[in-house]
Symmetry: C2
Subunit: 344 residues, 2 copies
C-alpha cells in the first residue's frame, strides 16, 4: 500500500475524516439500548484507522448516556474492514460496536454502525457524465455512500442511462456495494462502470478485476472525476511474479483475522510444495516478514496487502493465483486479480 | 526500543543468532515424542525475532522426523518473551512449541525449548573481575546462559568472591535468571552485581531497578566488559513525565498478550480519571497509537516498550508509576522503574 492508498475502511487519505467530522451519526442510542437490554458491564468499540482520533469524543458522549459503572473501551488494533473484527475484544465485552463498515456477517453480539457520509453526490456525478457514453452503465459505491445509492440510480436514469446494478455475493451487505477485496457487484452487462466514492483504492481494484470495463471515478469527497488506471499495478504484479520464479523457499501466509482466512487454499499450496512453509499471523507487514529466511511469499489473506503493499516487502509477495503462474502450474496470461468471497 | 536494544529474547543484535547458528539444540526428539503421544495432526512453532530466520530449516528437520501428513506451521507474529505466546496458534495446534525462552508458566500443551548457548563464559568473566571489588557479589544471567550458571558461581567462588543469588519470583524459572521486566533475582545483599549475558537490554533494566548497585556486564557473545549506565534513560523518563503533566486526554493501554496484562491497574487509572480512556491492544507500537487523539499514554503492558521505545511515540508514554507522578498523586522523587511480577 502506498501512502496515498491505504485500505478499505481506512479513511485517512480520502478526506472523509477531515471534512465531515461532525456529520457522522454514531447511533449512540442504539448502543445504549443494547447495554440496557443486556445489562452490560463492558462496551467495546472498534474504529477504522481514519476515525480512531474521534474515539475519545465518542467515548465521552457515550459515557454521558450510560449508567455509572459501565466500562467503555477502545480497540487499539489496526482495523481495515468488517473482515477485521477485534475478536479478543468481542469475546471479552458484553456489547461490541464496530464503526465504519457494513456487516459482513450478522451477529447478535455485534452492533455495526456504518457511518454514512452526508456529502452530496450529484454535483460530481454531473461532471462524471462527461466521461460516460450514453446507454448502459454499471453503478457501484462504498459503504459510506450506500445511503445515497437510490438517489444516484434515479439521477442517472433521469438523464437517460440504463443503470445496471447487482448485489454481488454474501460478503456484501448491499446492492451496488464494493469492498477492496470484492467487486462482484460490478459483474454487470455494461462496458462502463461509474464508481461514486472517495479515494482510488476501490476503483483501482475494480479496474484490475474488470480490465475490460471503463471505470469512471466520481469522488464526491475530493470533488474530482478520474478514470481508474490499473496498468501501473499490473506491471508491478508481473515484475513480482518474474522475481519469484527463482524462489527456493516459499513462505505461505495464512491470515488469522476472522474474515481473511483461506485455510484450504494455504494448505493446498504447502501440501504440494516441499519448499513451502506455512506462516500464521494477523497483521501482514513488511517488518514482520523481514526476519524470515524466505525467497518469496504467497499471501492468502487480504488481497490488497499483496497488490498495494507488495513493493514494500523485502521479497516478492504474490497472490495465490500469481503463485500458480510463478511455479509454472498456470501460464502467465491467466494471471487474475485476487478477490475474496464468502464470509467466514 | 532503539535499533540496538530490542527486547528480551530478541537476539537480533546480540550476535547470538549470527555466531552460534549451528549450535542450538532444538530438541526435535522431544517434539516428535509429543506428536506421537498425542497423535497430533498440527504442530505450531514460535520463534523469537532473532531466530525466525532459522524457522524453515527447523521445519525441514522436523518434517523429516515426523509421520507423513502432520502439518508444521510457523508463527509470523512478533515474539518478545515467554509472556508473549501466540495463543491463536496454541489453541489451534495439537503440539505448540515455544523456542528461545524458559517457561513462565508450565502447561501440558506447551513445549518450551530454551535454546541454551554453548559459548564459553569464563574468559570474559576473567576480564570482568577487574571491575569488581573483592567480597560480596550478586550473579545473574539470562535464559540462554542458564546452563552455565553453576559453572559461573563456582568460578567466582574459586576466586574468593562471596556469591549471592536468588530465584526471584514465580515469573522466573531459574535461580539467578533475569527478564527484561523482572530483576527480582538481583534483590540480594551485595552492592555489586555481575551480569553474564549478551547485549545491554537486561543490564540497563537491572541498573534502573537497582540504581544503588554497580552492575558489571560480562558479555560472552560480543566479548566485552562494560558498566551498565542508566542515567541517560532516567533523563528521558523525567522528560516524558514533565511533558505529560499538561495532558488533557490520557490513553491507558491494556495489553492483551497472555503474560503482559495488568487489568486491575489499567482499570484503576480509568476509574479515577475522567480524562482517561482504556485502549486494548496486543502489539504496542508508535504506528498504532498515532491515529488516537490523546495527549499522553500510560502503558500497563510490557515495561520495556515504555522505557526503550518511549521516545518513538508521538506523545509521552509513561509507566503506571510515572503516571502517578505526572498527575500529582506522587512526588517526582518517588519515581521507580516499572517491573512485572507473577505469571497470568
Amino acid at each position: 500500500m502506498s501512502q496515498d492508498e491505504r485500505s478499505a475502511g481506512d479513511l485517512r487519505n480520502t478526506g472523509l475524516s477531515l471534512r465531515h467530522d461532525r456529520t457522522w451519526d454514531y447511533e449512540l442510542e442504539r448502543i445504549v439500548e443494547a447495554v440496557e437490554e443486556r445489562d452490560a458491564e463492558k462496551v467495546g468499540m472498534q474504529f477504522p484507522e481514519g476515525l480512531k482520533r474521534r474515539a475519545p469524543h465518542v467515548a465521552d458522549d457515550l459515557r454521558e448516556l450510560l449508567p455509572d459503572g459501565v466500562r467503555v473501551m477502545i480497540s487499539g488494533k489496526p482495523c481495515y474492514g468488517a473482515c477485521d473484527l477485534d475478536t479478543y475484544m468481542m469475546r471479552r465485552t458484553d456489547v461490541f460496536v464496530h464503526f465504519g463498515h457494513s456487516p459482513m456477517k450478522d451477529s447478535e453480539k455485534i452492533i455495526y454502525v456504518p457511518l454514512f457520509s452526508n456529502v452530496e453526490v450529484t454535483p460530481i456525478m454531473e461532471d462524471a457524465t462527461e466521461e460516460l457514453e450514453t446507454g448502459d452503465v454499471g453503478l457501484v459505491t462504498t459503504a459510506q455512500h450506500m445511503n445515497k445509492f437510490e438517489e444516484m440510480r434515479e439521477w442517472l436514469e433521469e438523464r437517460g442511462f440504463t443503470v445496471h446494478t447487482r448485489r454481488g455475493d454474501e460478503r456484501l451487505t448491499n446492492e451496488g456495494q464494493v469492498l477492496g477485496c470484492n467487486y462482484a457487484s460490478a459483474d454487470i452487462d455494461a462496458d462502463q462502470v461509474l464508481y461514486v466514492g472517495g479515494g482510488k483504492f476501490h476503483p483501482v481494484g475494480l479496474a484490475m478485476e474488470h480490465p475490460e470495463k471503463n471505470v469512471v471515478i466520481a469522488d464526491p469527497v475530493n470533488n474530482v472525476v478520474t478514470i481508474a488506471d490499473h496498468e501501473q499495478f499490473m506491471k508491478q504484479r508481473y515484475a513480482s511474479v518474474h522475481k519469484a520464479m527463482d524462489a527456493e523457499k516459499w513462505g505461505v501466509i495464512f491470515c488469522t483475522k476472522i474474515g481473511q482466512g483461506r485455510w484450504e487454499q494455504a494448505n493446498e499450496i504447502v501440501e504440494n510444495n516441499d519448499d513451502a512453509y506455512l506462516i500464521t499471523m494477523d497483521e501482514v507487514t513488511p517488518d514482520r516478514l523481514r526476519n524470515f529466511d524466505m525467497d518469496a511469499f504467497v499471501n492468502t489473506g487480504c488481497p490488497r496487502i499483496t497488490t498495494d503493499d507488495g513493493p514494500q516487502f523485502h521479497k516478492p509477495m504474490l497472490t495465490p493465483g500469481e503463485y500458480e503462474c510463478a511455479v509454472g502450474n498456470k501460464p502467465l496470461d491467466e494471471m487474475e486479480f485476487d478477490t475474496f468471497h464468502g464470509t467466514w
